[in-house]
Each structure stands twice: as structure tokens, then as C-alpha cells.
Symmetry: D2
Subunit: 375 residues, 4 copies
């Protein structure tokens, strides 16, 4: 029997999926109506890009204050098959009755008041830093201004999905984690929680792609200043530090201080966190690896590599995956834990969709299973 004769039986479900699905559009009343606030930046773009493959979410509102009035494809011409998304509007012109879910991609500081003003029927995933720190005093110290929505802060759930899945499912507002904190907590939180490493002397040397700095034009981000070089930045004062420390402290039940040095390097996407840790008495690097493998065995997006295999950012580009490798250090009693993600996907918009899927009772992998783009 010729294969093409067998195929048609499968066609209808298939058609609903990778293409802008005609049948789904017909039943658009059934879909979750999504607003992306601050859609003219990279994280907003990435939400729209990934949602193009999502069968249940439909982007119906895009805001962008300075770009209001523009068609989205004028701002991001590569989103060719997103031509049915609406043009950008100002946030004050949004009619919230027509929205079910909000991805908030606004800069920190402005986000607090914006979210506080939204109707309570909306489910929100906030990609800014504004609701990540439980302690609003810590927020004020690191972000240079008092928190303007402390009540809402109490409602927000920190959404590192693999670590806080159950809380996310019950939440209305999710504070989506930062990229560095995601890459660091995924390997270290389970190790601290299991007392396999000590809370002291955790040293993190991290490297990020440039897209983490956003799309705004700054001299230090122009091509000629970035290509073919590397430099540390914000040494000992990067704002992701208290977020990392909050997560690690929670994991082991005592205050943790980390050494954290981020680097800017010539790549658009990708992040590697090299974590240099002390083994707890009696523990070995092999046990660390086994523990993480066990912990993440059922996860779709976190992969602990076999001994000797080094995680590369190349292998997660454009995907929601996190790769982790564990190595025995040459200094006795120490281990090296390497983790890589795509800072715009698992480190931002992909994880935001993963969380939003949970908020709406959907399988969290929905629209997130594409492969990394390599080469």
C-alpha cells in the first residue's frame, strides 16, 4: 500500500497544529486571549514567536508605548507568520475585558504600578524583576526605589517552574525568574536542599549573550564594542544576586551569600553558569550528578549530562532546555557544576509560557518542544 494513501487519516489533527490553525480560529472564543505588555523588546518578541506554535493561546493585544500604532511586523519583520497579530497600542488603550492572560515584559520599576492597576480576573506572568524578591526592603536596596505594590508582591509566586510547580499552578500572578537565577538555581537548589554541597563559598562565574541587555540602543552594546571580546560587568553588584541568594537560602534554610560574576560575551543568545562548590562531608561529584539526574528524570526541559560531557550553549539556542554537567574538581572536596540555557527562552519568555501553561491547566510543554537551532 502506498504510504501516501495511509497518510490522509492523520491530516485533520495535524493541520490544527503548526500552522495558524483554521479550525482553531473558527473556535476562537474557546481560546485564551493573550496580551503582551512591552512587546517591542526582545522578551516580548520571544513570547509572540513561541506562541505562534501554541494551539490554545492567541495573542490579541500587544502594547508598546513608543511604538504604538505600528504593525508588529514593522518592529519585528522576521515574524512572517505572525501577520495576524494585532498592531501595537498604548497600554492605557487596552480593553481588558477582551484579555484572559497577560505576559508583562515591561522594564522593572514601572511594572509594579501597572500590574496593580490591572483587573483581578487576569492571570499574569511578569517577566520583570519587580515581584521576584519577597523582601521589599531588599528590592528597594538593589533596585534603588521603594516597592510600590507590596500587597501584590505577597500574592506573587516565584516561578522557577521545575522548583515551584505546585505553587505556580495555584497562582494568579507569577514572578518569572531572571535568566542568571534560573541557570544557577536549577542545579544548585536540589544540591543544597539535599545537603550535598555546603552553603559557604559558592562561586559563580556566568557568561551571557547580549540579548539579555535588551533591545535599547546603548554604546556598549553596539556591534563593534561587543564582537570578538569578553568582559565582566557589574562585578559584585549585579541585581540578580539577591534573587539567587533568596533561592539558595530557601533551599538550605540559612542565609547564603554567593560570589557572582557575570560576563558579557559576543553571542546573541545563551548563558553558561559555572558554579564552583564545596562538597558536603562525604559527598562526591558522582553523587551530585546522580542526585540531579534523579531529581530531573521526569522533566522535559532539564537534562543532566553523563559524566565527562560538557554542556554547551550552542545546544540549547532557541530552545527551552537546560543542560547540566557535574565534574569532580582537582581541588579535593570541591565540584564544578556547569549549566547552560538560552537566556531568552528558559531564561525568560519560554519559562513564562511554561508557567502560563500551568496557570491555565495546560501541559507545560505546549509550544515549547522545538529543537535547538544548530548550527
Amino acid at each position: 500500500m502506498a504510504p501516501q494513501l495511509r497518510v490522509p487519516a492523520l491530516l485533520p489533527p495535524m493541520l490544527r497544529c503548526p500552522a495558524p490553525a483554521p479550525s482553531a480560529q473558527a473556535g476562537a472564543g474557546e481560546q485564551v486571549r493573550v496580551a503582551v505588555l512591552g512587546a517591542s523588546g526582545y522578551t516580548g518578541e520571544e513570547v509572540v514567536r513561541l506562541l505562534a506554535l501554541h494551539p490554545n493561546f492567541k495573542v490579541t493585544t500587544l502594547t508598546g508605548d513608543r511604538q504604538a500604532g505600528k504593525h508588529f511586523s514593522d518592529v519585528f519583520p522576521h515574524l512572517l507568520t505572525a501577520r495576524d497579530v494585532p498592531p501595537l497600542v498604548k497600554i492605557e488603550d487596552v480593553s481588558w475585558d477582551n484579555v484572559d492572560a497577560v505576559f508583562c515584559c515591561l522594564p522593572h520599576a514601572t511594572t509594579q504600578e501597572t500590574l496593580a492597576s490591572l483587573p483581578a480576573h487576569l492571570k499574569v506572568v511578569d517577566l520583570s524583576a519587580d515581584f521576584r524578591l519577597r523582601n521589599v526592603d531588599t528590592y528597594a536596596e538593589w533596585y534603588g526605589g521603594e516597592h510600590k505594590a507590596p500587597e501584590l508582591q505577597k500574592e506573587a509566586v516565584y516561578g522557577l517552574t521545575e522548583l515551584h510547580r505546585e505553587a505556580v499552578k495555584q497562582a494568579r500572578i507569577v514572578a518569572n525568574p531572571g535568566c542568571y537565577p534560573t541557570s544557577v538555581q536549577l542545579p544548585l537548589v536540589p544540591l543544597l536542599a539535599a545537603n550535598l554541597i555546603t552553603a559557604e563559598d559558592i562561586i559563580i562565574d556566568a557568561k551571557s549573550g547580549v540579548s539579555g541587555a535588551g533591545r535599547s540602543a546603548k554604546q556598549n552594546l553596539i556591534y563593534c564594542e561587543v564582537t570578538e571580546g569578553i568582559n565582566a560587568y557589574s562585578v559584585t553588584r549585579h541585581r540578580h544576586m539577591p534573587e539567587i541568594e533568596q533561592g539558595l537560602s530557601d533551599a538550605c534554610g540559612k542565609d547564603v551569600r554567593v560570589s557572582f560574576t557575570p560576563h558579557l560575551m559576543p553571542m546573541t543568545r545563551g548563558m553558561e553558569s559555572a558554579c564552583y562548590v564545596k562538597l558536603a562531608d562525604g559527598a562526591s561529584a558522582g553523587e551530585l550528578r546522580m542526585h540531579l539526574q534523579e531529581r530531573y528524570r521526569e522533566e522535559s526541559f532539564v537534562h543532566v549530562l553523563p559524566a565527562g560531557q560538557v554542556p554547551q550553549t550552542h545546544h540549547v539556542r532557541g530552545s527551552n532546555h537546560c543542560l547540566i554537567g557535574v565534574f569532580e574538581d582537582r581541588i579535593p572536596g570541591r565540584a564544578i557544576v556547569l549549566s547552560v540555557i538560552d537566556n531568552l527562552v528558559k531564561g525568560a519568555s519560554g519559562q513564562a509560557i511554561q508557567n502560563m501553561n500551568l496557570l491555565f491547566g495546560l501541559p507545560e510543554e505546549t509550544a515549547l518542544l522545538q529543537q535547538a537551532l544548530f548550527p
Copy 2:
């Protein structure tokens, strides 16, 4: 009504799609069983990557002579969700009874005899250059050796999908076009066929990403020799030239000779062909643009930009799209036609899947509608 209550109704079809679909696996006997020959190179990888989202094709055989025995994820560790693909085997160990469709990603010259030896029940898309030139003497002249399967050559259909769709549908063997010829013929063939440009003095300056040169280790391809520079190569003697001339000659019914200068530049994926053409008497750049817009209006993958908009390779990276822009030249009577593709997708593996979809009676967009990856 809460959105999450409405959603479940949609779940079953959705589940069949972006994820490795359980229901599809259940009915695996219904699926097209795909072999990828030469799967350890970039075009083979790209076929596997794209097929991971395909609901009807299942990769069941991968060959790679030097890498035989390895798991595919050892060769391409980024294909994390392709972990159910089989390990690489030698081509002589393939059991062809279990295969319906073949993507042939072998180097030119070796391909002729391999394809000639395959059972006739297989549908084949060949990504090498071996069956692209109708005239086997031209093949011998440019590829440095007599054609070893001239009979099979007669059966092969040249598969620039948008231009030869009907022939492809009837074919058993498709010669998948080269990357440069794809980017050049998509804009120029309709213009020549409509007598809007002259067949004389067609000048093409093309720029390609490095992945077009494949994955083999050569000194001129190592990072330090490529980054931060550009150079022409194979000036006046690139092997895609006769393929371009064949297509353009067919379009206008007379022998066409083109000036074609490819450049190697520091990017992995992407190709721009700048075509400098003479207008036919009375024609204008605006008419050229309108004609192409009309010609490709119903196409999913070819997009003719409005006046003044410049196609960028950034906007097609990782996607099967082709963008075309037409400009009035400053020299009266001339026009500039710019076209961009991703050389590995529309210029190779994406178009191969597009053709294979047609061979099996599937919508040609299946598994090919993801957005470009930008930034």
C-alpha cells in the same frame, strides 16, 4: 467562564502536535518511515531537526559511514527531543523494506550510484547536486567526472517547489535545488518568463553563510579564518552556475549566461543574492515588484516586500521563507532584485521536506511553519 475550563476541549488534537505525539506513535504503522542518508552533516541534521515537528514522517533510519554505531545525539547533542531517533548505521546495513522515503544528503558524485542501487518503491529527495543538471555532459564538465546514472537522471524532477510543484507531485525522485540557485531563480524565473527583464547582462553578487560549506574540517573554514571578514570565492567557476543558467534558460527559452560571484561571510546561516538586471523595454521596477507579488501571492514561503523595504537574512534564519525586494536602479533601465533565504532550510533541508510532503500528498507547509529565530 474561566479560560482554563474552556481549554481542555482542545487538548487532544494539540497533544498530537508539537510534542512527540503519543497517538501518532500508537499508529506508527500509519506513518511514513523516513531514512536520512548522510545524516552526520549539516543538511542531514537539519532534516532531522525539522522532522521532529512533523506529524506524519518518522525518522527510522540514519546512515553515516564514518560515524556508524554512534547515537545521533552524540553527533548532534542539541537534538534533545530527537532522542528516539535510531543510531547511525552504514548504508549497506539498511533494510530498505522498512523505509518509505529517503532524504539523500550524501556528497555529490557518490550519490548517483547509491541512488541507482535503491529499491524502486522508495520516494527520494536528493539534496546533492548529482541530479540537478538535465544535461549529463554539463554535469561532467562542471563536476569533473562522467555521470554514472544517466537513466535515473531522466527520471529525476528538479524540485524548486514554487516553480515546479506539479512535476514534483508526480515524481518519485526529486533533485533538490542548490542554495544559490534557489535564491536566484525564485525572483528571476518569473521575471524572465514574463519578459520583464532581459536575458543579457544578469549580474549576481551572492553572499552565503559558512554552513553551506558543510561540517568537514578545512583550514579555510575554521573560526579564526572566517570571523570578521569577507571574501569572494570560486569567482566565475562556482558549480551552481550551470544550475542557475539551466533554470533561467528554461524560463526565457534561450541560452542564458550569468555573471555570478559568491562570497563567504561570517555567519552560519543565511544567503543574500543581489541580482542586477536590465529592464525589458517599457518595464519598470514597480512592474517587476507587482508581477512577483502577484506570482507569489498564494505562496506560504515566498514574500515580496513592499517598495523600499530591504530583505535581511536575519529575518529568515531557521525558517523556510524567502524574502524578495525590488528596487529601481540609479542607472536608467536597470533594476536591483534582492532575495534572502536560510541556506540550510529553503536552500536545502526545508525545501527537501517541502518536496517530500508533496510526494506523499501532504500539505507542503507541514512541519515548516515555525518562525525565524531572531534575535
Copy 3:
């Protein structure tokens, strides 16, 4: 005899040279005192970088309006051995009595009035576009505003050194050519002047590094928007076009119109101009090459490659060299002429120093003979 015994005899002259020469400083009254206006941009930086090796020029004044008050090494920390250069001042605070020579690196439009206001004892090389076009109406048309110093324009000499050396030697004000015009005129002017190619149908496809766009922060120049892609820009309306046409028209004594399409590509430095030209009756590509080889035989910076060798931008990075290759085209009667330069050196600051050397009766190679940086 041990080599180290022979060496000391050579020491004194050597010491004067690559290092900030003590003896030269002693005789500082003998040196040319140089001001660089607009020193906080890339061309200003490049003048300072190259002059660090110059035995006769001493940078004594640097201006930069927005950065006034800063030390130069705060603006360009890589100029470690330029620590004896003065801090940046506002242009109105310069004491011109202490200056002999001016490199003017200001943006176009502002330059006219600035130069008109300078004392007449100064020798000036202007790197802006303001004095390049003899016809001030053409200037007004392409640069969007009337020329504000038409008298000074008459005094200015266009300084493509190899083509206008004698005029430069007599000049007080040199209009330093644009980068694209330098790369195009060096090969084409001698060919047009010798009637080896026709003035019609000259098609130029050019590719430039990003540094040509300067150091100002613009969204389209940030790393993520540039890396790993290519696009044409300013198609048919780039401002270097009238400058190219002026030079080519002069060469052949009639009005020339060119097709000129520049591209932005992911490299900091480097420029390739691919010129597609028609041979004059009876001429051959070989004759073109021979003519250029003859024309530039005595030149230090222009090198015509043997048949078959392709010029690469990699091979001129950081140097003042121009490489030219000539190829017979596949279309009979046509030739391909490829030329490469570093846009910041021969295309800007290097040529500016070459011209200033001539203004002061120095060998034009002074401080310009370092090798390209490769890899």
C-alpha cells in the same frame, strides 16, 4: 662574536621609533602639533592610535564636545600607550596658536562652519563628507542642506592620495575621501582613464564593516541586530554615490552614473567592493590587471594580485593597504574587479595621515607600515 655585542650600536635610532621617543620629546619644539577634532568617535580614535607610532606628529589637542573633560583613555581604554595625550576639551576652548595640523573628524554638516572659522595657518585634513563634492548643489541635494562654506570648498583638494598626490602636496585643506569611494576609485579610475572599460553599466556591490556607521548608539547597530546576518541598505540613495560618480566622471571626461548597493555585515572593520564592468572593445581582463599592476607598481599601499587570487578583507584589517583582484567574467566582454580595504584605515584615518604626511613634506608611509592583524 656574540650578537648582543653588535646590537647596541643600533640602539639610539631604534629607541626613537616604536616607543614614545625620548629624544623626539626632547626636541618637541620640532614636532608638528596635531589637533584631532571629534576625537571620541572611531575615526578620531584611529588617528590617535596610528599617530602613536609617528615620529614627527604629536597629538597635543583632542576635542569632543559631549565628552569634554574626560581623559582620552576613559573614552578609549585600549590606548594604553597613549597616556600622554591630553584630555578632551570643547572645540571653543582650543588655543589654535599651539596647533599646526588638524584632523577634523566631526560629523558632516557641522564641519563646514567649524573649518571656516579656523585660523589660516592650520593645515587640515577633513574626514567628513563636507568638502568632497566640488559642486555645492550636488552637496545640497544629497546631504539635505545648503553648503555653508562654498569659498572654502574651492580651496579644498580631494585627497585620494594615489590619484591626487601632487595636488595634495600643494594643498592646505584636504577633503579625505569616503571609504566606499576609496575602494571603488582605486581600481576603476585608472581603468576608465585608460579607456579599458566603458563608463556605462558599472555595477558595484559593496560590503562594509559596522565601524563605518560610527560609535553612536542606534538600535540597528546593536550586536544582536547585526551579528550573523547581512542586508543591503540605502539602496540607490547612499551618499557616497555622488562622490564615486564625481571621481569616475573626472577619470573619463563624461558623466558617469553607477549602480551602487552597499551592505552592512557582521564585521567591525573591512570593506569589499565588487565592481562588475564592461570591457572596452578589444580589452581583456588580463590587460586590466596588467594596467593596474603597472599603475600601482611603485605604491606602498595598493597591491594588485596575480591572476586567480581573491582579495580578502581579513588581509588588510588594521592596515592602510588596498588589495585588488581582476577576473574575466563568464559573460563575454565583462570583467569583475574586486577591491578590499580597512574602512577605518585606508578608508578613513590611515589615508588622512597619509595625506597629512604629504602636507608636511614627510614620506607618506610614515606611521602606516604596520602589518594587517590576522588572525
Copy 4:
């Protein structure tokens, strides 16, 4: 007085310097005759590039076994002004009587026997790893084979110039340090020697440009596999580790074990070593910085930055400089020490010339004072 009238008095010394100096050539018998062994790799190329500006060294012999017979500019076409260097020959065809100085750029393992066979009148700087480790057993353990010239090993002096200057001056054979060891020892050796940091728990996260891997074609070095990503490699087993430990152990008089993790990143040149160290009791990061500033105050190539300034590899590209920054860590009692070099210059060929200058009684800066190439 017109400036150009004053200038000629300076001309003769100037002419001797950046140009191929006529007077120096006239007295060629006075010059040191240099052989570069293994000149077809990147470190060999870099020696030749830098020596082009050297007034006392003249390259008279170049060897390259596989490329023997080729002109050097065929192997490295960018060395345009090095056209007077000789063609490549096989090492067995060298006439050593005509050589005074040898830069040995051969791969490790082959170097031992080669150097052992050379006449004793030659002064040698060896850029391979073969003579860096005093303990030949350690060599055997890490380099996988017994040392074949243990006697010569005893004669060799380890040449990290700023740390071993006096020994180098007396030496005949200098083992030029590895790139990583140079970038690590420059900051850490003085700190350990002064008891400002502890010898325990020294953690080094290093990032290198691709040129460190040499010019040979390997799949993992081709452009598409390197660009736009980062990965650690040789985790806990990189061969520079015993060399680092040897230097640090010497500094503090006891056995030191370090944690050292190198990364490959998408840049051609440049290296950053981030060293995470424990302060000795009572010491502070400020004291570390002051101590290093004092230690290197008179050095031409080592620069300790003011508090808060971050060293960038961009700022040393193509130069022989090392930049060091010291930061108080967020974990009390720790400091972060960052150092950057160009791996091919201070990390290889530049330091080799610096050492050779000393071997011949020349100022060590000779030919090494050019600025970094930025942008």
C-alpha cells in the same frame, strides 16, 4: 616658521623605524639573524608580524615542513610588507651558521629532540610546552610521553618575563609560558609571594579566543561550531594546569592545587582569567590592588586598573599588554582578580620577542609598543 620646514631635521632617524629601514639593511651584518621554526602556524605568523617592526632582528629563515617551498605570503597573505622574508624550508635544510636566534613554534613533543639537535651558539625561545615543567615526570604524566631531552630541560629558563627577568637575561634557552599560565601568574604570583592570599581554594575560570587552538583544521573549531556560543573544555585536565601550579607553588613555597576551568568562546584573540581567591587574614582587596600596582609600576606591559574598572579583552587585542582588576568579593574574606591578555601576543609570540630582546641585551619593549586594535 612653517612646520614642514622644521620637520626634515627629524627624517633620518624616523626613516630607520617603522619602514623596512634602509640604513638597518645596509648594516645587515649587524643584525640578529632570526629563524622561526614552525612558521606556518599562528604563533609563528605572529612572531613574523611583530618582527616586521623590529629594528634589530631580521627574519632570515622560516621552516614549515608541510608547506616547505611555499612563499610565506602564500601561507599568510596579510603580511604584505613582509615580502622580503624568505620562503619556507624544511627544518633539516636550515643552515644554522646563518642563524643567531631561534623562535621555536613547533608542537609539543616534537620540540624536545629538535632543540636538542641544534648547535649551541643559538639562543632559543621555545613557544611549545616542552620545557616549561621543571619536573620531567610531571611532563610525562600530563603530556603522555617521556621527556626526550631532560638535560636540556635543566638548562631552560621559564620566561614569564616580568617574574623571571633576571634569569631570562642569563639564559640561552627560554621556555616561553603558556597563555593561561601567563594570565594567571601575573596577578597571583605576587599576591601569593606577599602572603596576601591563601594558597588554598584558588578557583580560576578562564575564557580563551579560538586562535589558542592553532590553525589546524578540526571539526570543533570550524566557524559554525564556535560562533555564538560558549563551552568549557578539558575540565579538570587541561595541560596548562601543572604549569600554573608550578608557578604558584614556587611563589608561596608550598604545593598548590588549583581549580582551573578553561572555556572556548567565539573570538579569535583574547583571554580572560577570573581568579576567585581567599584573602589572607587581615588582608583586603584594596591592599591586593595596591600591592600589584606597586609591583608593576615600572612595567611597560602590565597595568593594574583603578578600583571599579573592569579589564576587557577588547582593550589588549593585538598588543602585548596585560590588564588586571581587583575587586572585593561579596563573600567576606574573598577577592576577585580579573586579568586579560591577547593570547597570541603576551600569551605567546609577543612575550617570546620580549624574552628574545632580553637575550640579546635589547630593551624588552622593542617592536612591542603598538596599541591594541580597537574597535
